[in-house]
Amino acid sequence: MSRTPADFMRAVVACHDLQALIDALAARGYRVLGPTPRDGAIVYDDIVRLQDLPAGWTERQEAGRYHLQRRDDGALFGFSVGPQSWKQFLHPPVLSMWAARHEADGSLAIDSEAEQCPQLAFIGVRACELSAIAVQDKVFCDGPYPDVDYQARRRNAFIVAVNCGQAGGTCFCVSMQTGPRAERGFDLALTELLDGGRHEFLVEIGSDRGAEILDAVPHRAATEGDIGEADAIVACTAGQMGRTLETHGIKELLLGNLNHPRWDAVAERCLSCANCTMVCPTCFCTTVEDHSDLTGTSAGRVRKWDSCFTMDFSYIHGGSVRKSARSRYRQWMTHKLATWIDQFGVSGCVGCGRCITWCPVGIDITEEAAAIRAGSRRAQGTGHGGT
């Protein structure tokens, strides 16, 4: 059962005691996943020991740029988000759907054994990522045909959120109202309190499951001072946003400007590399591949991540509907910020900034939205009205 922010119970855990949290989850059969440095980035992978976490690391992120940097303290969560998101565990990049056999009598048989879904525990889920998971919950669970595999993985997932102690270089959760404070959807939420000699975590309990796990971890009661310090940290992060995305009327703005010259301008830069869709925590497009063995007796279907930037994403006989990079960039951005709202009742963007960081040419979705808004306002100012 999850609770509302007003009645979160709080406690404080010493940094080294977080190992007990990892151990408690592992002991209950969870696969514990968290951030770890690898290959020059902070990625999400299995963690066993506290030392697996990127203590003392931060990143420098700008449009088209990412590199790790050493901190002058030993903060465990002193970074924001890397190239990966939690969707790789809840909505795996490759999933076997079913296998088929051609019987001797020419008939066809299909086996659809569902893959065993592991119990997943996520350590270090940012507020924007909680929002992203909530968005994907709508996408995969609320329609007439729920994604059964996603539902199973999601149901069992244990979430330890982390409130950001600093803004990332490209993120804008405040504009999207998705952070920096984790408000709901977690079992436990941590705020790192690191000053002077102490290294502790304020823990907010968000569910009965969270309370039960916390019982296995040494902790003390939270004081007003602890809570105040945590609040101050989050407020400071909120004030550090380097970007804004004006969301007022964004749906009408984009859908009313489908032929705005800005689309041509961004198309000159966009490589259709699909990085943005791979790193975006809400992008959900997939494709299916049907394959068979050489003897033609067995076949199968595999679901794989796909991207609306690929040339044949929109292929119908005769050719692709979206042949130009312009149309494909427009599709991605208008879906993310506008039509997503019609489809799922919320924006598809959570302001995590990954698409800006990981775009090889540094295209910035907030800049593109602002340019279209400015161009649209200018047109209205001269009395021509709209595009």
């Binding site: 759907m97 079913w98 088929a100 051609h102 020419g106 008939s107 066809l108 048989a109 299909i110 659809s112 996408v139 995969f140 329609g143 007439p144 045909y145 994604d147 059964v148 859908l255 489908l258 032929n259 959900f284 497009c285 997939t286 494709t287 299916v288 049907d290 394959h291 068979s292 033609g296 076949a299 679901r303 796909d306 609306c308 044949d312 994403f313 929109s314 292929y315 119908i316 006989h317 005769g318 509907v321 979206r322 042949k323 130009s324 312009r326 149309s327 599709q331 879906h335 506008a338 039509t339 019609d342 489809q343």
Partner: protein, 279 residues
């Protein structure tokens, strides 16, 4: 109306090809019967995902209305790997079927009004179940006008159905082709040009349109010029489909997923985006 099938929407059901009828050199009609269990019910305008072992799946509309014989009827044109494989199946072959999916032609909503059905090329296939349903209950509708366009007379689909409909006194049917040789006694010209000559009351008409998107676009222009309201015109849209159940993102057309918000879509809801190139 989205019909949720009783079976797992992710996994194909096994069907056998009961009969193959060649319609045109590159087009066949398949009758598919379930290997076990009953064929689910469906509405005109809906489609199934047809799977050929090891090759893949394509969305194909039902091309005949649900009858008591418990089969799905699909008319397939060879335009790619999967459709080509389907077009070459022999009776007795097995295929996978997922569905029925999608929205249907609002046949009941046309009761008491005039009905104008405009089909271009293979677009007659998804409309045939609607035509059959209307003609089976003819008394519920006022005037029924069927307009059919095709490339040449030899490319006309369902010629025997066209002749049967033409023989009826309670249906106006007009056929046109893009070009013909001297043996053709009928019209030569485009389908939209048939609309000003058709007899219907635009103030109380429901129009169902299916065919290549260019043909649908100009048919809509002619219907609107004739005075038919945007919210009384229905089109059948087509986009790339992989999952057919609104989860893979491929079939998006504006905010709509053609697999579950379509393929049959009311024109007023898509008018703003219909003419936007590469949307």
């Amino acid at each position: 109306m989205v019909a949720v099938p009783a079976s797992d929407p992710f996994v194909p059901e096994i069907y056998r090809v009961r009969r193959v009828q060649r319609e045109l050199p590159d087009t066949v009609t398949l009758e598919l019967a379930p290997a076990s269990g009953a064929r689910p019910s469906f509405e005109p305008g809906q489609f199934n995902m047809l799977y050929v072992f090891g090759i893949g799946e394509v969305p194909i509309s039902m091309s005949a209305r649900a009858a008591d014989d418990g089969v799905f009827v699909h008319t397939v044109r060879d335009v790619g790997a999967v459709s080509g494989a389907l077009a070459r199946l022999a009776a007795g072959a097995t295929v996978g079927v997922r569905g029925p999916f999608g929205t249907s032609w609002p046949v009941r909503a046309a009761e008491g009004a005039d009905l104008v059905i405009v089909a271009g090329g293979l677009g007659l296939a998804p409309l045939r179940p609607a035509i059959q349903q209307v003609l089976a209950d003819r008394g519920r509708y006022r005037r029924v006008v069927i307009l059919v366009g095709s490339r040449t007379p030899t490319d006309l689909l369902f010629k025997s159905d066209l002749e049967e409909w033409r023989r009826r006194l309670d249906v106006d049917i007009d056929v046109t082709v893009d070009h013909a040789d001297g043996d053709w006694r009928g019209n030569v010209g485009v389908v939209p040009a048939l609309i000003p000559r058709a007899a219907f009351d635009p103030r109380d008409t429901l129009a169902l349109v299916c065919g290549p998107e260019v043909m649908m676009r100009f048919t809509v222009v002619a219907l609107r010029d004739a005075g038919v309201a945007d919210e009384r015109i229905y089109l059948s849209m087509e986009r790339n489909m992989k999952c057919a159940i609104g989860l893979c993102g491929h079939c998006q057309f504006g905010a709509a997923f053609v697999c579950k918000d379509g393929p049959v879509m009311r024109y007023d809801k898509i008018a703003a985006i219909f003419a936007v190139r590469e949307l």
